[in-house]
Symmetry: C2
Subunit: 216 residues, 2 copies
């Protein structure tokens, strides 16, 4: 979008936020970001503007920017939007996926199964995101992919919290296995249904109270 410096700042901040190094509510002081990233204040400022536009960061006039706090209600609303959009992507992917992509998808599913078996939840959470990215690529629908990507970026924290619940990864993996199968079978209807079902399950899980700790 902007200068290389701005892109750098954007990348660093986005990663720091999604990795949790800068948790929701964290104050983004411009001078600190300048020192951290090593670019000019203008670049930092523009990068923050971009993240505000994406909904990852909130800015209050004269009071600075903070990493946006996404409540459980908002997380549900965001996922409600994702339900049909991921369905759309899954359907398009089933229609358009190449053999090479299909193989890659199945291999990825294997990696995910291994991660669940070994109990590496951090990794599994990241692999889920990559799976969605693979489906979005295969769908060749940049607009839906962009929308879904932005929505998902706001949910990283909730998704990770979700994967911490006992039994949840197994359920999740089952749904995603169905999704991958439907896509590699080139069955658009089944793929769309699998994607929607899976995310509806996410909504249900989000609606239930978290076993440990509150919504934050």
């Amino acid at each position: 979008m902007g200068s290389p410096d701005q892109q750098t700042a954007e990348r660093v901040l986005r990663q720091a936020i999604s990795r949790g190094d800068m948790p929701p509510g964290y104050r983004l002081v411009e001078a600190e970001m300048v020192a951290l990233i090593g670019v000019s204040r203008s670049a930092v400022r523009l990068a923050i503007d971009a993240l505000v536009a994406e909904g990852l960061v909130e800015r209050i006039r004269n009071k600075g920017a903070r990493v946006r706090v996404v409540s459980t209600e908002e997380a549900i609303a965001i996922t409600e939007c994702r339900v049909p959009l991921e369905g759309l992507l899954a359907r398009k992917a089933a229609e358009r996926i190449t053999d090479a992509e299909a193989e890659r998808l199945q291999a990825h599913l294997g990696t995910m199964t291994a991660a669940v078996d070994s109990g590496d939840l951090q990794k599994y959470s990241e692999l889920i995101r990559q799976l969605y990215a693979l489906v979005a690529d295969a769908a060749r629908h940049p607009i839906a992919a962009d929308l879904v990507g932005r929505l998902q970026a706001q949910l990283v924290r909730h998704q990770f919290q979700l994967s911490l619940r006992p039994g949840r990864p197994r359920v999740s993996l089952g749904g995603l296995t169905d999704l991958v199968r439907a896509i590699v079978d080139r069955d658009p209807e089944r793929a769309e249904a699998a994607a929607s079902d899976h995310l509806r399950g996410v909504i249900t899980a989000l609606s239930e109270p978290s076993p440990s700790g509150g919504a934050a």
Copy 2:
């Protein structure tokens, strides 16, 4: 978002673009915008940044900003995303609409019918947008409403082009009448189906070659 000046610039530009005063491809020269709007260059610059983030404007480094040209293919892809999102909004609206809102919706439908009867297509096109806004309000789903609003903003030109086709407004009005009926009847299923059907019709119409002139 930003200073009042920036908001002013954003509002003026957005309106100019959606009204067609600045057609797709139009070059947004910063100095001109400063003279036109009467705010500082920084404010214009930030406003343009915001519009770029919304997808209304395209910026090429060192070459300035232009009103984004949305091809027919992109318009279809955008509408494909709108199909299920408007469906979601329609369903939520049917669940949550108040009596006052329902009356307002029906009154609006009356205005639309009158506009079609009188052949005022410009007005009808605008009324359609307002109808969607009313539905979005009633749905109380700010996230979906925001997504749909941004998508729709990119389509104003195509939607107007569409309404110029002979017979199209009648078809459109019929579909929207069904939608309004389902919502005021508090029938979520039917509302969702009506919204989706209507937009699928839009996709079909967009796919057919335009009778006069090309895709632009």
